[in-house]
Amino acid sequence: MTAASGGIECPSPIESAVLMDYWLAMLSSSAEEAVEQHLMMCDECGDRLRESIALAEGLRSLARSGSLQVVITEQFLGHVSQTGLRVREYAPPRGGSVQCTVAADDDLLVARLAVDLTSASRVDLSWCDLGGMELQRMADIPIRADSGGVICQQSITWAKASPTSIMIARLVAVDDEGDERVLGEYTFNHTRTIPGPPG
């Protein structure tokens, strides 16, 4: 431990996972106390905490950028809206379609896919083109059986650069043997309204 100076290796370094939990305020008060006492005497672990903070800040910035494709929850979406971000949502009916676009000042793009999930243990979200060819599969997405659907955040960066096109989202239940059953299909008729060449 570097109580007096740099250059002395810490004999009991705090695990990186614990340092991240400390930064996220997810430690018990006694564990937090122990970490803080250690950090007040150890610059080596302090340096590692700075690395954790840098990663956490990068992830926070990324999460807020809307550029990730990720399944989120109703509570999280409500919280995001309260933080002042402009959220564009589309909720096509099961088996139906919706006309959609994205504007330059939108921050988040969200698809609401209503479906009964009570009979499914594993669900995949498959993105297909108009011909039904699968372009991407989000395997084993997190679901709540009682939620009545799936909320998927689509990358706003990708959507803003996309040309006018049709995308089909399929929610697929996968059983233990790997057999699949389509739970719902949703068509997004995307019209590009932002000028400029497609990305």
Binding site: L39, M40, I53, S65, L68, G84
Partner: protein, 179 residues
């Protein structure tokens, strides 16, 4: 010159009026105090303020030989950090009240566009499995607690912790490989 000096000796020298020992104490404790401030105040500028306030209090105490056990300097600094953060929170309460009244008139925060390193991080996050990515986004968006994320995803807090730890470990490896 004092770089390798133990904390106890530093404290004794400061009590004896040694200005160079004071400078070393500030150099040594300043970054540690700042980390504490970042964790508890969540603001770089507030953490910088904390460093100044705590160092002033520590220097005053050491100059006046008020630290009874010289080898407990780090504990003394930590205790002073805690008290000062409590004071800062009390004084910021009025500020929060004003924000509650006028906050809606303020423009929403503007978040910077991703840089090249952010794009690497984005690729690493996109490579996580779906559950890991959901947990990471919902946790780090606004420092949500494990309990909140667990409730939202219909799983246990312990499970969320396991998923989060596994995801962070993968991201560290991925970012290390990318850099």
């Amino acid at each position: 010159m004092y770089t390798g000096l133990p904390d106890a000796d530093l404290a004794s020298r400061i009590a004896a009026g040694d200005r160079e020992a004071e400078a070393e104490m500030c150099r040594r404790m300043g970054p540690r105090i700042r980390l504490y401030g970042l964790r508890h105040l969540r603001s770089s500028s507030a953490a910088d303020d904390l460093v100044q306030q705590v160092l002033l209090k520590i220097l005053e105490a050491l100059r006046n030989a008020r630290l009874r056990e010289a080898d407990k300097l780090a504990h003394f600094v930590l205790g002073t950090c805690r008290m000062t953060v409590l004071d800062l929170r009390r004084s910021s309460q009025r500020h929060e009240e004003l924000l509650a009244i006028y906050g809606a008139d303020l423009a929403p925060a503007i978040f910077p566009a991703p840089t090249l390193a952010d794009r690497q991080l984005a690729r690493c996050v996109q490579a996580l499995n779906e559950r890991e990515r959901s947990v990471v986004v919902m946790t780090f968006y606004d420092d949500r607690t494990g309990a909140e994320t667990a409730l939202a995803l219909g799983t246990s807090e312990a499970n969320i912790r396991v998923i989060r730890h596994r995801a962070i470990q993968q991201l560290r490896v991925c970012m290390g490989a990318a850099s």
